[in-house]
């Protein structure tokens, strides 16, 4: 198994851990954390392909990961603010109970 494949296997497993957490937990904060794990797994892929790709000197993967980290930080801040706002109005952080807009 080449090192690139090892990196990709690692990031796939991390993605699936995040996916399992996001799908099976009902606490909103844990679901957000699972989504963050999936984002981080995608960043691992960028770095792996940059390291073992054809043009490591170009640095494209590194720059992509930097922008992805910045956007993920903004997403985490807004998501957790939404959790706090929902908790203030409904006194719960369970996803199933935030169903006002359910058809």
């Amino acid at each position: 198994m080449s090192p690139l494949q090892l990196c990709l296997v690692l990031s796939s497993l991390l993605f699936c851990v995040g996916l399992a957490g996001a799908l099976s937990r009902s606490n909103t904060i844990l679901v957000l954390l699972g989504i963050e794990l999936m984002l981080n797994a995608a960043n691992l892929n960028f770095i792996a392909f940059w390291r073992y790709g054809l043009h490591p000197a170009a640095g494209t993967g590194v720059i992509f990961v930097l922008f992805a980290i910045a956007v993920a930080a903004a997403e985490a801040a807004v998501g957790l603010a939404l959790v706090i706002a929902v908790h203030r109005h409904r006194k719960t952080v369970r996803l199933q109970e935030a169903n006002t807009l359910k058809g």
């Binding site: 296997v9 606490n27 954390l33 490591p56 997403e75």
Partner: protein
């Protein structure tokens, strides 16, 4: 070459899996800090030092604090009640879906011949080169990311701020 990667991977997956299975939210958040630090270790292993430091600053430092604040602000009651899985059916469905996705991804990765350069040169991109690229060809994207961060943080403050108590209706 691959032994450090295996160690990092075991720490990373162990921390993330324990965080997703834990019944205590605080333990989950702290285990995830460990997983994020493991990701920074992976970046160091791969030779992307600047990204590793950015990961430590942003995730281990900032996002973890925001998560802990959210956990403490949304705690119900003084007791640290365990956060149960919602329903057995939902948990099983989630794990089956994740396992299926893992199977498909691993099959695709292991079934693809990836014979890159036999011994890839240690990709050394210095911080100076990175800064020149960020300020040169990617300057517009950098500015846009700055605006996005500012707007998102202002919006987060507005969303999470406490409403003023309204005057009681006469």
């Amino acid at each position: 070459m691959t032994t450090p990667l295996l160690l990092i991977g075991i720490l990373l997956l162990g921390g993330a899996g324990a965080a997703m299975l834990s019944r205590n939210l605080i333990h989950s958040a702290l285990l995830l800090v460990g997983a994020w630090a493991g990701i920074a270790g992976f970046y160091l292993w791969a030779g992307a030092e600047f990204v590793a430091f950015a990961q430590v600053l942003v995730y281990v430092g900032a996002v973890s604090m925001v998560v802990l604040f959210a956990v403490l602000l949304t705690r119900q009651g003084a007791t640290t009640a365990p956060v149960e899985f919602d329903s057995f059916q939902r948990a099983v469905a989630g794990f089956i879906t994740a396992g299926g996705v893992a199977g498909v991804l691993l099959g695709a990765i292991l079934g693809t011949p990836m014979d890159g350069p036999a011994a890839p040169a240690p990709a050394a991109i210095t911080v100076k080169q990175l800064g020149a690229q960020l300020m040169g060809p990617h300057a517009a994207a950098l500015l846009i990311v700055g605006v996005i961060l500012t707007v998102a943080l202002l919006g987060a403050i507005l969303i999470a701020a406490v409403d003023k108590p309204e005057d009681p209706a006469p």
